[in-house]
Every structure is written in C-alpha cells, then in structure tokens.
C-alpha cells in the first residue's frame, strides 16, 4: 500500500529528528513508540517529530506523544512537532494538544528552537 507508515531518523546535534511518513494509528503506533523509546534510552531528551508527510493520526498516535512529554520535560528536554498538515492538525486541536505541545511550521524550525535554547544556556553560564 502506498500510504502505510515509515520513520526516517536523523541526529542533528543534540536533537533526534524523526520524520514520519504515512499514517499513525493503532496498527502503527507501536513502531513510533519503539523509535522514541530507543532515543530516550540512548539519553536523548530533545526530540523533533517531522509530520510534514504524516497523512493521518488517531488517538493511538497521539497517545505516544502524550506518554513521553512529561519524562522529557523533566530531563529539560521536550518533544516538539513540525510541519503538521492542517487536516492532521485539527485532530490535535480537538483535544487541546496544540496547547500542550510546541508546534512549529517546519521540522527545521523545531530543531532550531532547541539549538537556540542551548546557545542561550551557554551564554548564561
């Protein structure tokens, strides 16, 4: 099928960038959860999820974002989302997730937001 699910992973400095393709539902959420858990286990606290190619999300996918954000913020990191298509963003809106998560127009902007924080922290030392 042309629109299943795929994750492409990159590391940009301290930031793990996960690019999602296809649909995130009860069938594919476990793969996404494993990818994030693997990064967390490696000590990464700053995660960007690029949703530009994400065509669909259900509560199972939202639940993955939900289950990690507290842990990452406790570690002074975050999970930030870039490039949501309007049709997918409306699902985040309905549940108030746009108030809970930091959303950016692009994944690059989300990655940059972490890097700016790091530079700010270094300046304040």
């Amino acid at each position: 099928m042309p629109d299943t699910f795929q994750i492409l992973e990159e590391q940009q400095g301290e930031v793990a960038l996960l690019r999602l393709h296809g649909y995130l539902d009860a069938h594919t959420a476990a793969e996404f959860e494993s990818a994030i858990q693997r990064r967390v286990d490696q000590g990464c606290a700053c995660i960007v999820v690029d949703c530009e190619k994400l065509s669909y999300i259900s509560s199972a996918g939202l639940g993955v974002f939900m289950s990690f954000i507290e842990e990452l913020r406790e570690k002074e990191g975050d999970i930030r989302i870039g490039g949501l298509l309007p049709k997918v963003r409306q699902v985040f809106d309905i549940l108030g997730f746009t108030e809970i998560f930091q959303l950016f127009d692009t994944a690059d902007a989300a990655v940059t937001s972490f890097q700016l924080k790091e530079e700010g922290d270094a300046t304040n030392v």
Binding site: A26, Y56, S58, Q90, V91, I100
Partner: protein
Amino acid sequence: MRQTFEQSFALHVPSSSENLAMIRAFVSEVAFRAHLGEDESLLLAVAVDEACANVIEHAYGHDATKQVMVRALLDEDAIRFEVVDQGKGFDPSIIEPKDPRQLVKERASGGLGMGLIRRIMDEVVYHIVPGEKNELLMMKRLKKQR
C-alpha cells in the same frame, strides 16, 4: 411531496488493527458521496477508526477470527455510522472522556478515543445486548448546501 433518499453501505473485516486503514478508506468513500471536504472526511474516519480500534482491542482481544462490522447510512440530513461487534460488552456509562492534560501528567498512552468520538460526532449512542451484540451509533449532521 418531498422526495428523500437514503443510501446504506456496509463493510465486514476481520478484527485486526491492520484493517483500520481499509475501514478509514470505506468511511472516506461514504464521506465523498456526502460531498464532504477533506477535513470533515478525515474527522469522520478518526471517529469510526477509534470505535473500531476499541472493538478490536477490548471487545475481541485482537482475535482476527472475529468480525467487525461497519454500517453507514447516508441521507440528506445526516451521515450515520454503526459499529457492531459480538464481543465482550461494556458499560458505556463508565467511559467518561478524560482531560488530556491529566492524561499527560499520568504519562498515559490511552484514554483519548472516546473523547475524540464525542467531540467529532453530533450524537453517540450505545446499544448493548448482553451476550448478543454491541452497537455504537454515531451521527453527524450535514450542513445544508444552497
């Protein structure tokens, strides 16, 4: 005399999460026939997906030998979806939508599905016949086209 039209469609699939994509495609096709746009169509797919995912996980315990049935009824005023199973029933009165902020604090990964269904659809009704079948009926009113 006003002429009304009603169309009905049905899909039966084995109770496996890999079939959720097929269920969503079915919902999208019905939404297309109702002249709904891409955003509205996706939200209907989310509601029906959530209902079916609940059946697959909770009513049938991922037993793919069981069948999930989705019926769609379309008329001039509304689009209705019925999700029917013969699995383990539950008391719908105990399923209350949870506040996503509270779920975040609890680090929960579930608990959002019913809230999504109720926020998307205009009416949500359960019919539980213990030992026989469970039906979740969801209705969305159609905006009048002028």
